[in-house]
């Protein structure tokens, strides 16, 4: 018997399919296939190795989210520090409320020539969008069932195409705001053509309990560059599932950074496929959790061709009864010589009840490679705290200094300076808030 949460999603599909973008096109057929695959597999659960630490089925059974309503009319964006984190940066802004694009709240005028930015519904008839949606990454199969769910129900998203050689002059900021409780399925499509460049910020905020299932498909052509930065600070009743699938052609360059502060349960999945030589991917992140928050970072980096570089560092601070998970895999295929693959995860436990599960893996089938992985879990050094206090620094300030120093090693990897400083002040505040 199909469990309730899975059944609810299938019913939502049956009820709404005619109104979803791309009805009566290739996409409706694609949705049909996806929903069948999803119905067969159901929501992922802990008996699957990849979902061992995050039982999405159980989480969604308990929460029972109805589809998020369209939020008509005025919206007051939250006045939180996270929502305003990038406010000082000159940028284009695209706002989604309950997973739906809001032109009235977005600012995208004067985009450079060669930059196309549209909501999903406007690009479903374009071939490039279809290619991205239909693409399957060999390494991404473990993500496929949640991607299938997304494909079946996706109703909006930001779709960005940057033509050959064009550089997006300002960061593009995608702000996702949950105004009402409910489930939403967002699909972002990003195509950066040869030698083109873009920087994208993503912010996810909201005071309401929602389930966001976001899939972002990225294609970086030869020599293309994408800097991606994501800040997730949603309500503690919210469940956040984000899957990013990035394919890099020769000499492409991808940096990704995720800062996770919010949500009761969150999982970030990052799948990177190297399809051309000499490409580089930096997949990094940091998280600071408290209460009973649970966050799972899942990365698969597939070196399918020679001479590519991938570096991954995730650092997290866990307080109270929070739980962190890192699962990472670097695959080096038989002909992928001269691969440079590094992966590291480090967690700092601030409480006896906090827990960290780390599973870094290497799968290497080539012999001339440089690969390393590692994992550490520790607590604040009492000796270090004593040393700082012996210089007159009060204990709370000493702890904050050490925690910030720990997270900064990861945050320092954010290439955009103003954004980096904005994230640093958020993590500084995180600790101050806890003790306020």
């Amino acid at each position: 018997m199909t469990e309730k949460a899975t059944q609810n999603f299938i019913e939502t599909y049956e009820r709404t399919q005619a109104r979803l973008p791309g009805a009566d096109s290739w996409l409706s057929r694609r949705r049909e296939t996806a929903v069948k695959a999803f119905a067969e597999a159901g929501l992922p659960h802990r008996r699957l190795e990849e979902w061992k630490y995050t039982d999405l089925r159980q989480v969604l059974e308990k929460a029972a989210f109805a589809p998020a309503p369209a939020h008509e009319g005025a919206v007051i964006l939250p006045d939180s520090r996270s929502a305003a984190a990038f406010a000082a940066i000159d940028r284009y802004t695209v706002v989604f409320v309950n997973g739906r694009y809001r032109a009235d709240l977005s600012h995208t005028s004067r985009l450079p020539k060669g930059v196309e930015l549209h909501p999903l519904v406007d690009v479903v008839h374009e071939q490039w969008a279809r290619d991205l949606v239909e693409r399957r990454l060999d390494d991404g199969r473990q993500a496929e069932n949640v991607v299938d769910l997304n494909t079946a129900l996706m109703n909006d998203g930001a779709c960005l195409r940057i033509r050959k050689g064009v550089k997006l002059d300002k960061p593009l900021h995608l702000l996702f705001f949950t105004a009402d409780a409910g489930a939403s399925h967002t699909r972002n499509l990003i195509l950066i053509e040869n030698e083109a460049e873009a920087t994208i910020f993503e912010t996810h905020v909201g005071a309401e309990a929602g389930f966001a299932n976001i899939v972002t498909d990225v294609s970086l052509a030869e020599g293309a560059r994408l800097g991606h930065l994501k800040l997730q600070d949603e309500a503690t009743g919210a469940v956040h599932l984000a899957t990013m699938r990035t394919r890099l052609e020769a000499s492409a360059h991808f940096t990704s950074f995720t800062l996770t502060l919010g949500c009761g349960v969150s999982r970030g999945q990052n799948f990177v496929l190297f399809a051309g030589e000499g490409a580089e991917a930096h997949v990094n992140g940091a998280y600071a959790l408290r209460g009973t928050q649970h966050s799972d970072q899942f990365c698969v980096i597939d070196h399918a061709v020679p001479g590519c570089t991938s570096h991954t560092l995730f650092k997290g601070v866990l307080d109270d009864s929070s739980e962190g998970v890192f699962q990472g895999k670097v695959i080096v295929r038989p002909h992928a010589q001269k691969t440079d693959g590094r992966q590291m995860t480090q967690a700092l436990l601030l409480s006896r009840n906090a827990a960290m599960n780390a599973k870094p893996e290497l799968e290497i089938y080539a012999d001339d490679v440089q690969c390393a992985h590692g994992s550490t879990v520790g607590e604040l050094s009492r000796d270090a705290i004593f040393y700082l206090r012996s210089r007159g620094i009060p204990e709370l300030q000493a702890r904050q200094l050490l925690i910030s120093a720990f997270l900064d090693e990861a945050l320092d990897l954010v290439p955009h300076e103003m954004a980096r400083n904005a994230l640093k002040s958020l993590t500084d505040d995180w600790f101050a808030e806890a003790r306020a």
Binding site: L388, R389, S390, R391, P394, A405, E409
Partner: protein
Amino acid sequence: MNVKETSMLEIRNLHVTVDGKEILRGIDLDVRAGEVHAIMGPNGSGKSTLSYVLAGREGYEVTEGSVRFKGRDLLEMGVDERAAAGIFLAFQYPLEIPGVTTMTFLKTALNAQRKARGEGELDAVRFLKLVREKAKPLNVSDDMLKRALNVGYSGGEKKRAEVLQMSLLEPALAVLDETDSGLDIDALKTVADGVNALRSSDRAMVVITHYQRLLDYIVPDVVHVLSQGRIVKTGGKELAHELEKSGYAAYGADAA
């Protein structure tokens, strides 16, 4: 002369246990402003324990006796409170603090102490000027200040950084724990010059050392011999030279 009234640091019958083992077994010590006291003794005699008890490290249980600093009950004060009141411990093994630059650390410490004393915090410009002024005679470069505190510092650099902290924080009482360990003669001279520059009539120092060598450069007013948790002899600076010749065997300890 009434010693009690003028002592900056007054230790009476101090007994301290660590992990249930008694390490200090009745220490009496009076240190007045302007004085430099040397505490010498073999390994395991309790020298470092005394320095940690003064700084307030956890795990050191005072079972008997008292410590007063500037008339206040030191043992009732927290670690950072003691620092703000004017106690500074130069560590034998300064800790490495990855991710916190020496500059940030110095600024945080100085401003925390100023705040605790009700003084205003220094702004960035005034702070920078002050640090450069204090760093120069100690050969502490801007590059060192930009690096993470003590991370990758040589033994000499760590000790110079300790003296820089002391110079910046201007404590009333400086306790130097084996400041000579791991230093070659040139580094030792630089460190000793830095310490000597801080000698003043309103500041006291307690120099803890195993060897007499350091005391050739930081000349003490009083020398105490610590053995098995007690001060067994007190004398002038010449006592250090005697010890160098005869060792600690005469004081009921191994000549370690």
